[in-house]
Subunit: 295 residues, 4 copies
Amino acid sequence: MSVPALHDDRRIVLTLGCPDSVGIVARITGFIAENGGSIVEAGYHADAATGWFFTRQAIRASSVADGVDAFRAKFAGVAAEFGPETDWSVHDSGTPKRVVLLVSKEGHCLHDLLGRAAGGELPATIEAVIGNHTDLQRVVEAHGVRFHHVPFARDPAERGPAFDEVRELVDAHNPDAVVLARFMQVLPAELCEHWTGKAINIHHSFLPSFVGARPYHQAFARGVKLIGATCHYVTAELDAGPILEQDVIRVDHADEVRDFVRQGRDIEKLVLARGLRWHLEDRVLVHGGKTVVFS
Amino acid sequence: MSVPALHDDRRIVLTLGCPDSVGIVARITGFIAENGGSIVEAGYHADAATGWFFTRQAIRASSVADGVDAFRAKFAGVAAEFGPETDWSVHDSGTPKRVVLLVSKEGHCLHDLLGRAAGGELPATIEAVIGNHTDLQRVVEAHGVRFHHVPFARDPAERGPAFDEVRELVDAHNPDAVVLARFMQVLPAELCEHWTGKAINIHHSFLPSFVGARPYHQAFARGVKLIGATCHYVTAELDAGPILEQDVIRVDHADEVRDFVRQGRDIEKLVLARGLRWHLEDRVLVHGGKTVVFS
Amino acid sequence: MSVPALHDDRRIVLTLGCPDSVGIVARITGFIAENGGSIVEAGYHADAATGWFFTRQAIRASSVADGVDAFRAKFAGVAAEFGPETDWSVHDSGTPKRVVLLVSKEGHCLHDLLGRAAGGELPATIEAVIGNHTDLQRVVEAHGVRFHHVPFARDPAERGPAFDEVRELVDAHNPDAVVLARFMQVLPAELCEHWTGKAINIHHSFLPSFVGARPYHQAFARGVKLIGATCHYVTAELDAGPILEQDVIRVDHADEVRDFVRQGRDIEKLVLARGLRWHLEDRVLVHGGKTVVFS
Amino acid sequence: MSVPALHDDRRIVLTLGCPDSVGIVARITGFIAENGGSIVEAGYHADAATGWFFTRQAIRASSVADGVDAFRAKFAGVAAEFGPETDWSVHDSGTPKRVVLLVSKEGHCLHDLLGRAAGGELPATIEAVIGNHTDLQRVVEAHGVRFHHVPFARDPAERGPAFDEVRELVDAHNPDAVVLARFMQVLPAELCEHWTGKAINIHHSFLPSFVGARPYHQAFARGVKLIGATCHYVTAELDAGPILEQDVIRVDHADEVRDFVRQGRDIEKLVLARGLRWHLEDRVLVHGGKTVVFS
């Protein structure tokens, strides 16, 4: 699936997190200027609670004469000055990110992401969709995207081989993001570990409220006046990973659980699409179980 | 395209608007009770500005022993008591509403509505999609929906025959709603008249701000902090029809017009989907250029 | 403190909850019509989960020739037809509701409610403010409202006498609402019981997230992207009472706990003001630990 | 009126706007680092439409050994390098900003701002309130703030002397912000000019919809589904100045104009408070009739 250019300019995107100290910004922006870099967008955050510093710089690619690879190689020397814990990356937006989606039967998040990709709105290519059911196969293929069917055993204890197959299929695409688009299966701890920082889930509640199964039923029972959705990185602890994005929608006494389900879909779609977009544009830095999002 | 039942119950939906007076509610609900009708949902509005009364009653269909046709026939006598201006309808939700979509090249509203239909969420069948370009044909057909291509002349003065063809194609489906899903063509006055109360448009601004062409460019020039979308009935006066629904999304100085376009799509999709849903569920009563929406 | 009339008309407000059956609406609206009642606003809810029916009718007071007392007396006979569990009330909006506020040191909710009362916006009189500190006394008195200072012992085990004094002071005003406007004290179970259905609290989180102490600190630790506030009736179980209203506000990684505190105040003020208004206008019916709000 | 420290740290806040070119950020942050400055918060914006660059830097005051005056004096040399159009400022948050409020009879914005000031939430002192009526005098004085009464002639043509008196009273306080808190008087062009960049108005519509008088009546007539408020700098062209902040609130068919008025107040208060806060914290840079807001 090709990605039409919505933005007409390529960017070199630099992200960095390290212990804070005086002069980091000057050092980094000095380096960028020395390399001719024209900064189009910049985000900074000095975190008082942890003492860390975070930045994201988007640089007009055409302004860096030596190209992204030379830029990255040279920057490694700068990053080293900030200590061994420093976490950094340099990405060329001209090289599209790659996404694999995991789905089950419910198609709303899938339809939404396929529609965004078709409109050139997703800063990535959807490489493949893997489903434990075939309900969504036809539309996936109409969008020119490969669909893999991996059936799952009824007994959760026997799903190991299916997860192994999913892992192999996913990894074959070397994706930048593995999206659980209402996949409805809890990933084994070793898969969470294996895909740390790239597996993204959409949970249909405003976490930490209503962790686990049937959150809309839990919300209905409590009588809340807003329902929500949370996009988070997948970690071994259920629904406890770093939160990328959340939003809510108003409900009232006249709404039954099925109305929560229907209305909640609109928030799930939006929250997942926003979180995924930020992840793909290198806007999200993770530290201490929380995210810095330069949106 | 079939519509799976999200709601397990059929409803008889009664709507009525008439000059207000004491006792109307008692008369109507007395009639419903006499016919065994179990009211599931009810909306009332006494409009102080116009002196009109409006109601919508959703009745469990199975509770009305004589069936919807007999109910409607008997109710005609009741409605007549409220004067000649009375505007009323009785609809059986077991008979799905019918929708025709008009599109151009931009697919976001189309993808959204097709996804909702596929998920059983739209209280209607999408009978056909008519496009003045073929860009969206493939996905429409993958959803099992008929696509008609009607090319439009470059010269607006020569588009009469194309509009005639669109009118004929649309009317052949006898639709309850004709949705301009980013159709990008201004309907001739006689078509607006012909489809009064069923042609629905999505305009990409918070009307009455930014009427007409390129509203996102107008919004950018003014420096607004929110952009919006408006779902309205089409009338001969451009972007001036009764408003079904509106919403907004936050933007800031870092957003360029292309960002407005991208972010605005999410609001356009939601606002159109909500407005269309309310129209199809007989939740919208029009009076004096404004809507009463029993949402 | 006098309450200028924002609304020019007096209303008789009838509320009723009872087991659902066919014909209740017809019976009630028939009764209203027989008494000449002109219905200005009406809300209905048939609750599928509990099988109960709820309604609120606002009737133009001047249209009921016999007056509210006769109306109420006659309606008692109608209500009796719906069974012994029926819960109903008839209130004349010409008789202002009475409110007592409990406060501590933080004044934002208090200032907000005093401002609303001064603007004629609160459908009630503020009879008194009781504080366990004197910080807010001066402004309360500038608004012409009585302030009572009741010091609380440092040791929670020794606060019984103070709570007794608060109870006596509150009850002397025979209030329709006892508002814990950031009172910061957990009411003893017997006071919760004593003020059932009239004690209203504002909790500074989106319940059921972050029950108990320091919810903004809890929210910061979890890294949520929205913070919220919840207005609920006070019950013996902490922060678990029926929810009247909730709302949220967006935060991001740059916000520290003190920013949560500052921004959260705006949501606390709005959520409390809306919930209290609905309570005072008899828009809230409680059943099964949840609320029906005819807003 | 004293301002308790909500934030425990003093900041030196540097703002700058100039034609964009490579190396500006490096130059500025290099200068800050040379002076020992620890950057706590930073915002950048390169504006593609105008070719301008904007930044705001908040520096821990204690990290700049030489103090703010020396820092400012030295920075003047740096700013000069960016060309004669460069617009910059250096402010010490330890020197509180000064605000004068203009009011009429409606008190909701005034009460809100006084409450915020009392809670230590406003990053400024309220130096005085000037009213063309005395309705709000008592509460202003209870907050320890000076109230000036300046009566206005009924005939708009004869209000010149009153405006002269207002000007003199305001200027005597040398304020950083002159807030028209529902002042209801159109400032003469020369006063708009005189207070350019510091006179802030709250307009009760989502501009550019409903410019001028009685915007809620205009909104009601059009049948919009959201009403809004706009905080903007005052310019000679009515309601056309650079927008600081906007927001909206949902209304429906049941809301009359008086309900718009009541509900709109909540949005007016919030939008004014946010816009004013950003202005006082030097977060707003104006260029080409629009604002850059580093919120």
